[in-house]
Each structure stands twice: as C-alpha cells, then as structure tokens.
Symmetry: C2
Subunit: 328 residues, 2 copies
DNA sequence: TTGAAAGCGCTAACAG
DNA sequence: CTGTTAGCGCTTTCAA
C-alpha cells in the first residue's frame, strides 16, 4: 500500500518517533536528521493517514453538515459560505443530504458523529424534545441554522417575525386594501420543522391588526394557486400577496401571467428569502433577503468557538434586508 | 468518553473478540452470549468508532466529491442525484468545494484520499497531463463528470458536440439567417477546464457549414452583452443567439428587455443545460437538457463497479434532450 | 464456543 | 538528541 512513517524510519535508519518529530516540529531533533527525513518523505510522497491521526488524537478537522437538499437555494448558498469560512480555519466540511427523511436525518448525524466530525451545522427537519435529546446525546458542538429545534441548542438566524411585520407595513403603506398571506400548510408543522413559516405567519397576523381597514386572508395549502386565483377573481379592492417564500411568489406570477395579469399593474406581490433565481425574473420581486451568507458565516464562527470550548449565546440574530422591487 | 467494545467486554465478562463476533455475526458464538452482548451494547448505546474500523479495514464507505460551487445548478442537481444513488449502496458522500481554485482542488482531493474515501466523483477545473498524473498517483477509483480530463480516466457525459449540432439545425430550420454563438472566452481554456464549451463551439462551427446562407458569428467574451447588443443593432436579417449555457441566455434576455426587445418577436435565443431556474422564466427558453441526474446516476454506478474491481468503459455517453421552448 | 495476541498508522510519555 | 513502549478502538489470525 502506501508509505508510512515506518517505511521512512527504516530507510532513514531512525525510529518512527523521530520521523514523527520531524513532521511535528516537536521535541528536540537535529536539523540534519530532520532534513533527511523530510527529504525522504517528500521523495516517497509520504502522506499521513488521516484516519490514524484522527483515531489517535480525536481531532479530525472535519465538521458535518446535514441538510435535506442542495437544490434548495438557501442551502446551496449556505454551503458555499460555510465552506469558505471553514477553510479559513483549515477545517473541512462533510456535507450529507437526506431529502426530508427524518429517520435518515438522524442516521446521518449519528454516522458523522461516529466518524468523529468535531461539530455540526444543521438545518434540521426534525424538531421537538426527542430530537433535542438526540442531539444532546450526540454531544458535539452544534449550531442550528434557519429552523429552531429547542431553547438549548445555539441558533443563528434572522428575526423572521419582525421581517414579516416590516413586509406587511411596506405593502399596506403602498395602499393595498387586501393582503393575502401564502404559506405551506400548517398542518405539516408536526411533520416538518417549519419554524420560519410559522414565525412569518405570526408576524403577518400581528402586524395586519395595525391596519384595520385592510382585509387579510391566509392561504395555507399546497393547492394555493387555485385559491389565489379565486381570491383574485372575487377581489373588489387592490390586492397584494405576501408569500412565505419566493418560490410561491414566482409560481403565482407565472400562473397569473397565463391570464394576462401582471404584477404591480393588476396585483401586488412580495416574496421572502431573496433566492438568486430572482436575478433573472422580470419584474424584480419585492422580498426579504434572509442574508443566508451572513447567517452561515456567523454559524461557523460560533461553531468554532464551541469547538474551542468557549461559551456561546444560544440565539444569535442577524439583520435581514427588505428589498423593494417592482412588484408592489 | 464513549463506550467501546472493551467496556462491553468487561461488563459481559467476555473478551473483546467475542464482543466483536456478536456484532459481525462471524465465527461461532453461543446465541446466549450474543444476545447478552447485544443487549448490553444497546443499553450503553454503543457506537462503533468508524475511524478505527476504517483504519483497520481500509473501508470507509465514503466517497468524495470535489466541485467548485454548489450554487451552480448543475452541481446542485448532480449532488442530489449522487447522494441518492450512494445511499442505495449504503455509502456516504463527502462533498467539498474549492471555488475554482486549482491548487485547492488538488489539496481537497488529496485530503479526501488521505481520509481514505473509497472513490471520487469529480468535475474538475484542472485538466491536462499533470492533473491526470496527479489523479493516477492518488490511485483511487475515480469518475469524471462534465469535463474531460484525459483519455484514461472514466468519463460520463452527453455528446456535447452532437447536441450543439442539433441546436444549430433546429435554429436554422426555423428560418434564422444569422446565428450568433455566445460562450465564455476560449482564452481561459488553459486556465479552466471548459471542455464542454469547446465541444459545443466545435459542434456549432461544424454544423453551421451545412447552412451556407446563414451568417455565423462567435462571441467569446465576458463582455458579451455589449457585443450582442451591437450585433442586434446592425442586424439586417432574422438573428438568433445560441448560448453555451442558459445563464448567458437569461442575461441576454434580461438585457434586451430593457430596450423593449423580446425573444421570438425580435430575436431568437437558445440556451444549453436546462437549469431549473428556467421553470420560472417567461418565455420558456429553448435549450438542451444535459440530463445531469442521469449522468450522475450513471457515474455513481460506474464508480461502484470500479470499487468492486470491475473493468469499466472510459467513456460513457448519455442521451441529451432538445427542448423546443418559446424563444425560437 | 471462546480468548490471547498482534497489528492498522500515528503519537506521547518516559527513558536513555 | 533519539529510541522504547504502550495505546487509540477495532479486527483477525491462531490456538485452546
């Protein structure tokens, strides 16, 4: 197989310990033997076995990321940001995916832990006390992004509720007399961790109270296109759709376009997330930028603090950005 | 720390060997001791140390993926497909990113190899004999997707040239009298592995010869928007743009829209890749679907054959799909 | 049916 | 300045 310290040792006529010293620059060693060892090592293209090192030291310089789907823009952007940050600390990232399969999600986390990753960045689908317990048993530094699991696990994100309130404010002030909140079915709340959407809805419901002359509707169904169409057809006043996710907004715009209805002229619409697909869609969708890159960076730096044994806040909030596009 | 076979052994009053037998179902062991061991293990929530197992066996059930950016739709879709396939074999995927940094790309591959991943799926930026040599030294089963590195490393992809020819055919037959091929600068060819774009260009150049009455232009510059605009302004005949990448096409459409020029009415346009962003863009872009999911699946299955020691073809071609949208 | 011993490759404590 | 020894946790002969 490949070259080991043993080989180098025997070639150089020294012990493995000495070879090790040459690499680690630790302990006393004569410059001469050191150079000789390094030279031989380079010639043989020696590479330390990371498994063996990890086994010995318990340090792997890897951390684990478990998300459900990289086609999701949020995760794609997050992964990139995390990678870049990790690299700065000379850490590597082990990314695995589970397609919203909760059982698999746990298995992956467990497996990575068995692999001795030194920490986790998660955006879990699972939630609740049992999952929280599970994570505690895993007993590795862990930071949660985007979906709250429990009070005791460090979380990084934006203030979703505030953001939703800001959105409602902006829409209302543009004179819309009916605002429709579109989000995934809340019935899935027990199945999936849709903390973000819940928060956004709460923000919507709270803020809309401040505009008593604005009619409010909530559409929480996967069949939202039909419902939204019905609402439009019956609308007697200027109507805007506030979607808990840009994708919903894009789908609606596309759907309405079939009937010749256009955003801003015929209805107002706003998304949430600022996914990068928006760069290519005209008109520019108004939305909330959830600053995933910043959130991710922050998450990584918190993770490193945890790895170093420091105490960290269990909730870190990053500022979102309201984007006033061309659809309101 | 955590529970080891040693702990279980001492609790059960047996040797570690016996404990191991209980788990591996290998060698003779009485049903009674086995059950006892498994019970104790479960109670203590024993988890085998994957590093130790890997060190001993050389098998990690991981393979490595190295790409430059998951925000790139092609890679995002590829990763998902690869993950799903890997899971079927109970393998795990270790994904790392390098942002088109060739030095880093090599480091990552090396590092993963040092970590004893059992194989690689790569879509490298590096190419040429020295990179090819490098990969050979790594000496792990490797499959290349999307960018050819060398004749001797198994490759999976579509026939880019044929696809480009089909595209030209389709455009020409719709009556366009000028076709402009838009691609990244070829000058970067030595810096980046843009095999796909080269192939597409070749296909364009070859096929256009069959239409002597059609004028052809190649725009290979990052400043393509300006050039394309100039061409449009000077155009005296029906002009279409064939872009070596959907992104270019989307940018062009967006750019022209500012001036009130619309695809199909004022010019024809076709992309390449069929990225999923297209789902939300109107009009529907004509393009070539590079069937990344199929390519990825195939790549994984070939990788597993290599891991199993089977011989595999060093070039595997998957059928692309021509998508006739609304922009021609 | 079970156990002792050696070893994967690297490292660290302790001698010399 | 250098070597011996033991051990990380698991596995695999070989012997009992």
């Amino acid at each position: 197989m490949s070259v080991t310290t043993k080989d180098i040792a025997s070639i150089c006529g020294v012990s493995r310990t000495t070879v090790n010293r040459a690499f680690t620059n630790t302990g006393r060693i004569s410059e001469e033997t050191k150079q000789k060892i390094l030279k031989v090592a380079a010639e043989l293209e020696y590479r330390p076995d990371l498994l063996a090192m990890g086994l010995k030291s318990g340090k792997t310089r890897f951390f684990g990321i478990v998300v459900f789907d990289v086609r999701n823009r949020y995760f794609a952007q997050m992964l990139n940001a995390v990678e870049v940050e990790a690299r700065k600390h000379d850490y590597f990232v082990n990314i695995t995916l589970h397609e919203k399969n909760k059982k698999l999600e746990k298995e992956l986390i467990q497996r990575l832990a068995d692999y001795r990753v030194e920490g986790f960045i998660l955006s879990p689908v699972s939630k609740g006390p049992s999952f929280s317990e599970f994570l505690k048993k895993i007993n590795k530094p862990t930071v949660i992004i985007g979906n709250r699991v429990g009070k005791d696990i460090p979380f990084v994100g934006i203030n979703e509720k505030e953001a939703a309130k800001d959105a409602v404010k902006m829409i209302a002030e543009k004179g819309y007399k009916q605002i429709v909140f579109v989000c995934p079915p809340l019935a899935d709340a027990e199945q999936e961790n849709i903390y973000s959407h819940e928060q956004r809805e709460q923000g919507f419901l709270e803020e809309i109270k401040n505009y008593p002359d604005v009619n409010s509707v909530v559409v929480a169904s996967w069949d939202y296109l039909k419902e939204v169409e019905k609402i439009m057809n019956q609308a007697t006043s200027k109507t805007a759709f506030f979607c808990s996710g840009d994708i919903f907004a894009l789908e609606i715009m596309k759907y309405f376009k079939q009937f010749g209805k256009r955003a801003k002229q015929d209805y107002g619409i706003m998304g949430f997330d600022n996914i990068d697909t928006l760069d290519y869609v005209i008109p520019r969708l108004s939305t909330i930028d959830n600053v995933v890159e910043k959130v991710s960076e922050k998450a990584v730096s918190i993770l490193f603090e945890m790895i170093e044994g420091k105490k960290v806040p269990n909730k870190t909030i990053v500022d979102y950005i309201v984007i006033n596009g061309e659809t309101l």
